[in-house]
Subunit: 221 residues, 2 copies
DNA sequence: ATTTCGTATTTCGTATACGAAATATTTAGG
DNA sequence: CCTAAATATTTCGTATACGAAATACGAAAT
C-alpha cells in the first residue's frame, strides 16, 4: 500500500509554472511579471506568487527592478558563453563519473530516452524534444552520482532552455543530436570512457556551432 | 551626488541571517526551524521568514518534513565528496579562465585578501578566516568571468562552510593555506597558468586530506 | 505649449487572520 | 494499568488587509 503523498505547495507549483513559462518564452525577456495578474490567472492569492518569484530571483531567471517588481532576465550573451564553457568541462566529467557507477538498468534507461527523443523529432514536437534532450543529460548526471553537478545543472538547464527556445525553429534539424546521444551511450556502456567523454565534447561543440549560425535553428544538445 | 540605495527586503535579510546561522552551526543539522520563533527573534512577521525558508529549500540547506516545517539539512558525506570532486575540476578551470582576464588591479586585490587571511589566522578568528578564505576563491571566480561558475560556487560554498565549521577547531593550523593561496596567485600573475592550476589542485588535495584525518581540525581551503 | 505640482491609482512588501494538518495531552473504557 | 479515542495545542500554508512606494494623470501656473 502506498502512503498518501503530500501535495505540492502552491509556492512550488507556481514556481514550476513560472519557470516553464519563462523558459518557453511565454514571458519574454525584459517583460514585467505582475503578481496580481499571475495570481488571478492561477486562481490563488498573491502571496505564493510573491514567494515563487523570490526563488526565481535566486535562480537569476528574473531581475529586481526595485519596488515595481521583477522583469524576466534578458538573454545575456555572457551567460550563454559561460554555459557553453562550463558544460565543455562538466558534461565530459559527468560522463567519466558515470562510467564508474553504471546501474544494471543503464541500457534500458538510455534506450527509452533515445526512443522518446527520436519520436519527438518525428512528431516535430519542440516541447517534447527539449524535455527528452534534458532527460538524456540528466540521466548521465544521475549516473555520475555527483550531487553538485546535479544541482548546478538543474538551474543551468533552465537558462539553457531559454537559449534553445530562441533558436529552435525546425525540430527536424535536431535529428543528428540523437545520433550523437546514442554514440555517447554506446561508448559509455561499452567501457570506452575516454571515447565517450570525447564524443560528449564533440556533441556540445556541434550543437554550439549550430546555434551560432544565424537563422539556423537547431537544438543545443 | 549619490543615488539613494534601496533597502534590502526583509525576505533577503532573513535569508542571509538564516544562511549564516546554518553555516556557522547556530542551527545544528537536523534541527527544526520554527517560523514563529525566528520571526519573534527578528521582530518581523512570519511571512518573510516563510519566504526565506522557501529559498533555503531550493538551496538544499534545509529539508522539508511535510506539514511540520523544515529541518536543517543533515551533513551528507555524499555531498562533501561531491563538492571535493567538483572543485578539483572547477577551481583549476577557474584559475585557467582567470589567467585570460586578469584585471590591472589583480595584484593589489590579491594582496589585500592574503593580508586579511593571515591576520585572521593570527587573531585565531574563525569567522574572519572562513570569510577571507571564501573571498580568495571568489576573487578567482570573478576573474574567470564565467557566470555559471560564480553562481554554482555561491551555493556550493554555503555547503562547504558547513563542513568547515565542523572541522575547524584550531585556526592556527590554517596558516599553510595562506602560503598555498599566495603561491597560486604568484604563479597566476606571473603567467604560469598551468602551474597555477596545478597548485590549486594540490591546495584542494591538501585541504581535503587534512579534513579526512580524525580530530585534525584545519580549513578546507 | 510646456512644466510643475497635487492627487489618484497601481503594485508590491509585509502584517495579520484563518483554516488545515500534525502533534501532544487528556479522558474514558476495558 | 493500558489503550484508544477525543480534545487541545502547535505550526504552517495561504488568504486577506494595510500601508509604502512608484507611476500615471489632470489641473494650475508660467
Amino acid at each position: 500500500m502506498q502512503s498518501i503523498k503530500p501535495k505540492k505547495s502552491l509556492v512550488d507549483e507556481t514556481y514550476e509554472i513560472l519557470v516553464e513559462a519563462i523558459c518557453l518564452r511565454e514571458f519574454e525577456p525584459g517583460e514585467r511579471l505582475n503578481q496580481d495578474e499571475i495570481a488571478a490567472r492561477l486562481n490563488i492569492s498573491r502571496q505564493p506568487v510573491n514567494s515563487a518569484i523570490a526563488i526565481l530571483k535566486a535562480d537569476n531567471l528574473v531581475e529586481d527592478t526595485g519596488r515595481r517588481g521583477v522583469i524576466v532576465a534578458p538573454i545575456d550573451p555572457d551567460m550563454s558563453s559561460s554555459i557553453y564553457e562550463y558544460r565543455m568541462v562538466i558534461e565530459p566529467m559527468a560522463v567519466e563519473l558515470a562510467a564508474r557507477h553504471l546501474p544494471q538498468t543503464a541500457r534500458s534507461e538510455a534506450d527509452a530516452i533515445l526512443k522518446e527523443g527520436r519520436e519527438a523529432v518525428e512528431r516535430a514536437d519542440m516541447r517534447a524534444l527539449l524535455q527528452s534532450d534534458r532527460c538524456f543529460h540528466e540521466m548521465i548526471y544521475g549516473w555520475s552520482r555527483n550531487l553538485v553537478i546535479q544541482k548546478s545543472m538543474q538551474v543551468t538547464w533552465n537558462h539553457l532552455r531559454r537559449d534553445m527556445a530562441e533558436v529552435l525553429r525546425d525540430p527536424s534539424r535536431s535529428a543528428p543530436i540523437w545520433d550523437e546521444h546514442a554514440e555517447i551511450v554506446d561508448a559509455l556502456l561499452s567501457g570506452d570512457t575516454t571515447g565517450a567523454a570525447d564524443l560528449m565534447r564533440d556533441h556540445l561543440r556541434n550543437a554550439h556551432e549550430r546555434n551560432s549560425r544565424p537563422g539556423d535553428g537547431s537544438s543545443t544538445g
